[in-house]
């Protein structure tokens, strides 16, 4: 019954040594990503940006909020990427901005993913009453333009990091719920789930043992592309002054400050933008490659 064609199908071997098996599978996916040139670039970008965010306090040359009299200075030996309108080092601010952006996005996508996956599993596995509530609710949230929904929440709760996170979590739940519901519904009908049911496994066990492991591939892809999107929306709200509040550096608000001084120095308008673009590009490339590596059937389907 072990088939090499579909190695992610649960088998008896998998049940006996799930950890080793999962480890092998991860290594295999990583190898596949590295073999693909585009995927490798994506992975490298993501690793570098995450590293920069984690190590920001160690590698940033200055305190990101420390002002100096070198207002809007061009790049030089003192300030490698120049300084902003308050004489703050742009490189340090960009590094701390990575920290803000990635932290917010990671928290948002993790929370939204957990809630969305749970809702999707419940709706797709149990159908009936739960499905009748969850699915229309997610459809309605889908029918709101993403940025508008986030704006509505921030408008009501006021700007700030916590409200930003709350707004984005709400925005990102529906896509996870929808995807997981779909896979849960199709896997539910597979013979091995039915046989599990026949030998008397409880619903919880069926979900944990069969439905969830088989939904991992689309969830992982959705997770990665959602991160890219979350970074973009975080930056957009930051630009509108509705995201993380100053003095904490965020790429979006750095850009909106920089724009006012564009005639004098272009650096504050360029550095954060490049950071956003490269990071989002990295996650997008990684997401695309992950999609191909994990499940060829998903190839070419766009996420949103």
């Amino acid at each position: 019954m072990v088939t090499e064609v579909a190695p992610d199908r649960p088998t008896r071997r998998r049940a006996q040594e799930p950890l080793a098996r999962a480890g092998r599978r991860t290594a295999q996916v990583l190898r596949q990503i590295m073999r693909d040139r585009v995927g490798a670039i994506g992975l490298v970008i993501v690793v570098l940006m995450t590293g920069a965010a984690v190590l920001a306090p160690l590698i940033a040359p200055y305190d990101p909020t420390a002002m100096s009299n070198q207002r809007l200075a061009s790049p030089s030996g003192t300030f490698l990427l120049g300084a902003d309108e308050a004489g703050r080092d742009l490189l340090s601010r960009a590094l701390y901005g990575a920290r803000t952006s990635l932290t917010v996005s990671l928290i948002v996508v993790t929370c939204a993913g957990a809630i969305g996956v749970l809702l999707g599993l419940l709706a797709g596995f149990y159908r009936g009453f739960l499905d009748a509530i969850i699915t229309p609710a997610t459809d309605i949230m889908f029918s709101f333009p993403t940025l508008l929904l986030a704006l509505a929440v921030v408008a009501a709760r006021g700007p700030g990091t916590e409200n930003l996170i709350l707004a984005l979590v709400i925005v990102f739940i529906p896509s996870f719920a929808r995807i997981v519901r779909g896979t849960a519904m199709s896997i539910r009908r597979e013979p091995y789930v039915e046989s599990g049911q026949a030998v008397g496994l409880s619903n919880t066990r069926l979900i944990l043992k069969y439905i969830l492991p088989n939904s991992i591939a689309p969830i992982a892809v959705q997770f990665t592309t959602s991160l890219a999107y979350a970074i973009l929306i975080e930056a957009s709200l930051g630009y509108l002054g509705l995201g993380v509040q100053p003095p904490q550096p965020s790429w979006g608000s750095m850009l909106s400050n920089g724009k006012s001084f564009m005639e004098i120095s272009v650096w504050p308008s360029v550095v954060p933008g490049i950071c956003i673009m490269i990071t989002v590009l990295g996650f997008n490339l990684l997401g695309d490659t992950l999609r191909d590596a994990l499940d060829p059937r998903l190839r070419g389907r766009s996420s949103r």
Binding site: S143, L147, A152, L255, V280
Partner: protein, 315 residues
Amino acid sequence: MLRMTLIRLLSVVPVLFGISVISFLVIRMIPGDVISSIMGQDFGDPAVEAELRRYFGLDMPVHEQFLRWLGALLQGDLGTSMRTGQPVLEEIMQRFPSTLLLAVSALVVSILISIPLGVISATKRNGLLDAGTRIGSLIGLSLPNFWLGILLVYVFSVSLGWLPSQGAGEGEGFWGSLKYLLLPAITLGASLAAISMRMTRSSMLEVLNQDYVRTARAKGLAERVVVARHALRNSLIPVVTVIGIQAGALLGGTVIVEQVFAWPGLGTMVIRGISQRDYPVVQGTLLFLAFFYVVVNLVVDLLYTYLDPRLRSGH
């Protein structure tokens, strides 16, 4: 066909209702309540507070508040701005044409860029232009549109001084306003262009492998004719779908692009409302944009069923 149209029309009703509920909740989600948020710490006059509470209907139970609000909504009453005293719907109607103009122009820009490039990219596969187009579209997808706007302003307004960077150029005549429209439209249309370019390319590649294209080639038709006559029309079907889906999303994008260019539309209106805590304005504008978004999607859906004969058979 008629039955399908009716079903699709009816499916919009719960969505519109849901949007109304969400918009209704916007004011009720304010920490504390809207009154303390408006009055701040300084105004402790209980009479004024009671008056405001009555004005917003906050002295009633929530379900009654909602029914009253919904009733007003159905009569086209979105409340009045707390700053200007003007009815919110009136201001929306004044500003909506600007937003619509911007969104439609962005759509046109994105089609003009994406379809020719996508087709060329597919027919000259793996050439230099193909590589450039593909990298360009990847970057277009990863670039925050407001940053693209900032860069365009820097190049074309600050450095070259060719195009204005702020406003819509009211009262400057057709060609004068067109200059104001150009940069915002490109900014808003760029990501849609990137998406539909990818779609055009992949769909064109798929169609070029079909049997009927081989037949056309075997007949001895020039490649140009094969592409233009036989392949293009069919390859555009998925592209039209994607553009349709994304057309509504442009409305969300206008909010931020309008902010970059100080464009006098609904986007700047809602942001102004948020910063001034003018809640009826925020509520009304968000509601209007979301309603319009749903209607656009509905129209695109119906048009699409109408245009694609295969969907007409009624599945």
